[in-house]
Amino acid sequence: MTPANSTIYKGKTGQWAFVLHRITGFLVFMFILLHVVDISTVNSPSIYNAIHRLYGNVLLRIFEVGLLFGLCYHALNGLRIIMIDFFPDSIKNEKRVFIGIFSLSILLTVVGGVIILKPFFVGGVH
């Protein structure tokens, strides 16, 4: 087996895709833990509504945009992993697909980010 015809790990884009996949996966998992706790207050409306008013704060809205990026990247890169697993020949396009999904994640985050952050500056929602 020579490196030319094998799929030996060579770093570069695949390495960064892998590292980012782990980091975003870890962070999304941590958010799920927090999310289970905040939703559990739903039987005490005053606490639940207070928490969701707090989520309207600009810092937590930025956190929300970060979650959007983590979700988008992890979801799209997950599809890339499945693609490589089930169609091993597609590893040839691995780099282009990574650039594609990364750009799409950024695009979705920017568009979603504007929608998420806008109410804080425009007001009216509180």
Partner: protein, 133 residues
Amino acid sequence: MAIRTLSETTGRAKTSQRRSRQNFETWSWLFMRISGLVLFFLALFHFFIMHILNDVTATNVTFVAARWKNPLWRLSDWLLLALGLLHGSNGLRFIMDDYIRRPSTRVAVKSLVYGLAGVMFIYGTLTIVTFKG
């Protein structure tokens, strides 16, 4: 390691003579792919509804009560909870196996993570089941 196995099975390895024996890691691999695909739609759609179509401050108790009147939304939220925690704790298992070298520390951290995921699963399930709008 997984990459080498892949090239072995697609390369010149004698696949015809090999009896396929699925062990825990094979099922774990398959579970991650299937749950990942389901979560792709569930999680992104959930985020879209709760954070893009509706502002986070608008998703108050009244909003949840209206939404959870339909048991299908409760089911969808419960699926997100169950699959998210399982997919996430299995992902954390890979990370813990990679970075925690001392066996005693690994057992301790794994117990903590699995315990926390289990408690969160029960806690979340109770929240979804016991809520009365």
